[in-house]
Symmetry: C2
Subunit: 347 residues, 2 copies
Amino acid sequence: MSDFNFEDHSHRRYNPFTGDWLQVSPHRGKRPWQGQEEDTAEAQKPTYDEKCYLCPGNTRINGEKNPDYNGAYVFQNDFGALTSDIPQGEMSEGEFFKAKSERGICKVICFSPRHDLTIPELDVEAITKVVELWKKEYQELGSKDFINHVQIFENKGPVMGCSNPHPHGQIWAQESIPVEPAKKQVKFGEYYQKYGRSMVLDYVYEELKKGERILFENEYFVGLVPFWAVWPFEAMIAPKTHIASLADMDEGQMAALADAYRQLAIMYDNMFKVSFPYSAGIHQAPTDGQNHPEWDLHMVFYPPLLRSATVKKFMVGYEMLANPQRDITAESAVKILKGQPKEHYKV
Amino acid sequence: MSDFNFEDHSHRRYNPFTGDWLQVSPHRGKRPWQGQEEDTAEAQKPTYDEKCYLCPGNTRINGEKNPDYNGAYVFQNDFGALTSDIPQGEMSEGEFFKAKSERGICKVICFSPRHDLTIPELDVEAITKVVELWKKEYQELGSKDFINHVQIFENKGPVMGCSNPHPHGQIWAQESIPVEPAKKQVKFGEYYQKYGRSMVLDYVYEELKKGERILFENEYFVGLVPFWAVWPFEAMIAPKTHIASLADMDEGQMAALADAYRQLAIMYDNMFKVSFPYSAGIHQAPTDGQNHPEWDLHMVFYPPLLRSATVKKFMVGYEMLANPQRDITAESAVKILKGQPKEHYKV
Ligand SMILES: O=P(O)(O)O[C@H]1O[C@H](CO)[C@@H](O)[C@H](O)[C@H]1O
Ligand SMILES: O=P(O)(O)O[C@H]1O[C@H](CO)[C@@H](O)[C@H](O)[C@H]1O
């Protein structure tokens, strides 16, 4: 293998979950940065904000009033990108003009009544309430005839387009299987056909054996940086035993997922001593009424920061037009993340 | 088709160039925005900046001195993500760990000696010089044995991660065909097999017949918003006759491409009276030594702004995890763009 090594030389890595390739340019961290810096200075947030649409007891923009909730609270998005009451229609004209109506339901889920507490600042019990609500929503939404996919996600921080500072996530449930989960559906299916086993579980097993990309484990879950991670500090939380979807999870597993979510979020915040922005969410079995032994639920985290609290990785020209590209290897990201204290820096 | 209509109801559209689907949520423009706003205020730039690495006569970070160039000027990127002098290596371990070394060459191309002039502010003659240099580079780089793909692109504006304000673009040439062009390669190939014609040209012909998504035309090129555009004001410049790559282009065609590039960039700047940020670039035939009758060169433009000079579209949680999604239809974007004056607002 000559003198080639992954820490110094430009290379491509294959993502077996999607079939895509990634460009890695490890030497590139050295280039000078004269570009845009993010404003991540944090105003001390109040525990309750009377102008916030998500705080308990407040009135939302459509006139509805939030109850005095404690724990996690879910409601229908007042400006959902998907709605269930549209007429159905389809267009199919030759090779170029194909479109069809898409029904769905969008919800918002407040993580806590506290306006100022993010996931890494909540305790495992409070986060378990969020996971329980996810499960309930996945089951209820998924049981509807016209809902074949439920996407649960969180945009954390203004850099990630989060339009309200009250800690919350979202659920977009819809008719079609979206592009990203559909790619995984194909690859997991092929793998299951070939080996009669789940690709996610086999991958987790291989990574546990190697150890070098593992961030932490608990009874049911592992936190790791996938070999093919795209974002500088991308990570994944994946199960050690078969869990096709939230619907399969018992109390112990839900608490373990909450614990893993919290552990990872603390590592993130501690790295640059800032409320670390990311988009995160769950990929799991579709709710299309089929059995999905090929699926195992996993959470993915896509954080944009690269060098510091203010310099992010821009996925722009080359990345948009040609190929996702990263500047540090997955293995060096692991080293930095693992070096963080287990306690949140604010404590 | 009941009462369904594309202007009001959520739907999916198919992109025949890549095979991907897009989520359109036209009603969503109405949601309130309390999220991050971009700083697009522009300092008046000097015509020459002694601290700029790209201005004529200045010394770059690696000690090299730029010549006193006029017109367009190209040089090898001092911090290229791809280099040609790495040892070769490969890893293939089971289903999960596949990687290989990737050689390449990265270049920077200054559009003009003037530090302060962007594409919409240059005249057609000056932009033609850029196109001529693109052609020369595409041919020279492409003729190397280990270069099978040449990606030419521009990141415009700090919002697009542009790390130097001097107007410039980039060229990343490499061994492999990157993910996005590879998808088009497949779809164009299938289409050519089926019809013996080019998918791009057939699509342009259909759009010209319909007229509703056309922004402008000149002798050789058309500016249009594709039916499946993802970004709010995404656009495409495509040829009316067969041009597989820059290598095929004569003087008249290069001037026409320069004119189209300028027309579109002026529309963009005029819309919000700001130097409009985008990532743009050329998709064209790979330089793999094969004949590519299935390919026609086209330029794509991905601009992030949505509502104003300061509010952009965030491609985050749902978009990263599930499916690209847009909030206004391609057709309404066309109406806004076509309503702009033909002269740059600064003139
Ligand atoms: O090459 P630059 O301008 O330093 O960097 C910019 O463009 C590159 C190519 O799209 C990206 O990889 C970088 O993230 C971006 O900041
Ligand atoms: O739903 P929000 O928080 O208003 O909006 C945010 O998340 C959505 C889902 O990822 C994106 O479509 C928006 O661009 C983003 O600003």
